[in-house]
């Protein structure tokens, strides 16, 4: 069977991909170019004039201890969210995989959080953990933990990590459950006969067979945590207290729209872009090599 279509006219294929290319150019390449260009200028706050400064924005950026702290915060935040979201959802999926009756309704119920908007997810947790009226804060007080994320930077970070992970759990859960269900039952049975206990079976059979799913989710979660959590942080801690939850994406907004330092904001965007490109590259190199069986 002929899979490739052969066009008689030379212009038709170009015409067909034109809309896609136009969208990409207008909404991706143009802004990206604008950001790249702006990062080499210092602009006044009202946009009336700008001055070419070369790499000064970048030099200033990496000399700024606040920015470097943001890097560290982002790393801690991203890794924590990913670990928490993957770990919890895997646990839930393993548990749900054992349930035979009403499995469909469990799945439907567990997907709900994914439909909640990030800002809303943040607000829900904000209220739950509010020091003066939150139920979780009240429970924590009962346990002897003084909870106040307005003051305590670490607690604020924990709050946004939990909120961000919570939202991602249902998505991960679906993929993990599908992955678990695609592992033939006879493999687990064969391992049981081969004298492997449940825990050993999980680590030597289930996890390796689940590794393509796990890797895919790892990438998705990291990207989500690094680049897609602005709304959540904006709605809950607003980057504070004292920059404790100011991850890179939040800083871009803060520098540009609050601080009105467009040059530095653009430079930060370019750094983020470089990060995304790097991660994507690693993902594709790695995905094709290691995570196959």
């Amino acid at each position: 069977m002929q899979k490739r279509v052969i066009f008689r006219s030379r212009s038709l294929p170009y015409l067909l991909v034109l809309p896609q290319i136009a969208v990409t150019l207008v909404f991706f390449f143009w802004p990206s170019y604008q950001a790249l260009e702006s990062s080499f200028f210092i602009e006044d706050a009202f946009g009336f004039s700008r001055e070419w400064v070369g790499l000064r924005n970048y030099r200033d950026l990496f000399a700024d201890p606040g920015y470097l702290r943001s890097f560290r915060t982002t790393l801690v935040f991203g890794l924590s969210v990913t670990a928490l979201a993957l770990g919890t959802s895997l646990g839930l999926a393993v548990a749900a995989n054992r349930v035979l009756r009403a499995a469909q309704s469990y799945r439907t119920l567990l997907i709900w959080p994914y439909a909640v908007a990030p800002a809303l997810a943040g607000v829900i947790w904000y209220f739950l953990m509010n020091p003066s009226m939150g139920i979780v804060a009240y429970w924590l007080k009962g346990l002897g933990v003084e909870w106040n994320h307005y003051v305590n930077g670490n607690q604020a970070l924990i709050l946004v990590v939990v909120a961000a992970a919570w939202k991602q759990i249902s998505y991960n859960f679906l993929f993990f459950l599908a992955g678990l269900q695609s592992i033939p039952k006879s493999l687990i049975e064969a391992a049981a006969i081969d004298r492997a206990g449940p825990i050993r079976r999980f680590w030597t059979i289930t996890m390796p067979l689940l590794s393509p799913t796990t890797f895919f989710l790892l990438v998705v979660n990291l990207v989500y945590a690094f680049f897609d959590t602005f709304a959540l942080i904006h709605a809950t801690t607003n980057g504070g207290p004292a920059d404790a939850t100011s991850v890179l994406v939040f800083r871009v907004y803060n520098t540009g729209f609050i601080g009105q330092d467009y040059g530095s904001s653009a430079a930060q965007s370019v750094v983020l872009m470089a990060l995304v490109i790097g991660m994507t590259f690693i993902q594709f190199r790695y995905v094709e090599r290691k995570v196959t069986y």
């Binding site: 033939p184 064969a190 391992a191 006969i193 004298r195 492997a196």
Partner: protein, 363 residues
Amino acid sequence: MATLHLNALGKTYPGGVTAASEVSVEISDGEFVVLVGPSGCGKSTILRMIAGLETITEGELSIDGARVNDREPGERDIAMVFQNYALYPHMSVRKNMEYGLKNEGLPKAQIAARIAEAARTLRLEEYLDRKPRQLSGGQRQRVAMGRAIVRQPKVFLFDEPLSNLDAKLRTQLRAELKALHRRLGATFVYVTHDQVEAMSLADRIVIMNAGRVEQIGTPMDLYLRPASRFVAEFIGSPSMNMLEGRIGADRASVTFGQASALSLGFDLPGPAGHPIALGVRPEHLHLAPGGAGGIDLAVQFIEQLGADTVVHGAVPGAAGPLAVRLAGVQRYEAGAVLSLACSAENLHLFDAETGVRLAADAV
């Protein structure tokens, strides 16, 4: 090497469905026992209960005299070969075979020695470092057997291991399996739905139907003296002809419908008029010279298999079709009438209502 006792074993699922009940079999050391039956008869459930993959809800299972009902699969000292082979796809052939031994905590040198030996006997030496997906169906099957052999278990369990292979390979592996059993001298329990496989492999066959044991015996027991109509029709290919009729007024003949009757020459147990089924295997019928046979067959079509010819037709007056297996190449046109005879010892009589064998002693 072990004995295996199934004592009134049964399985009822929480929903109330009974998959097997009252299954009692005594399997002696080194025996090759085949569980056979149509799909859904409970044979796989029995095997999975022996393996410990299904909980036993009734009865008792013991290996070497010790009750193992509540032991985990890994604690029963059994090995199982699955229908889909269940090879670990992310491990090489060597790792697949090592897995169980490592879990047992065997020393490395011993593991290596056992694998080397199994690989040699199964001709897998050159494939040890391949992954299962790089192997053909037959090779995967041999790896699955290798994984069982290296464990040196008390009992080997096989769950339809050949049913995913093509016919030629199946015949070849059947012979290898038989040779393997002879060499190991181990106890084998084997599940299949293929009666030819059961006949050719088994020391003894357990034939099951609807969750119950129909008959236990050697292949020749089952072939020559089927205990029920079900066994009679299940064993043998083409399957046994069954003619339904009633015991004649003289109690030494069978009447079919109004007109025809077949004189048997011996007395039948049971009252005149009792409905019975008369069974005769296609290969036990022969042509009667000069039309002197007791059964007339109107030919409908023939199957020529080379070594022999199967003639299908109908007996006028009797309900149901009839097949005859004649040696060599034979040619008959549809509509021809053959006169057939059969010696009395090859006739099987069954109660038409209960399916139980009748006249076992009279024949």
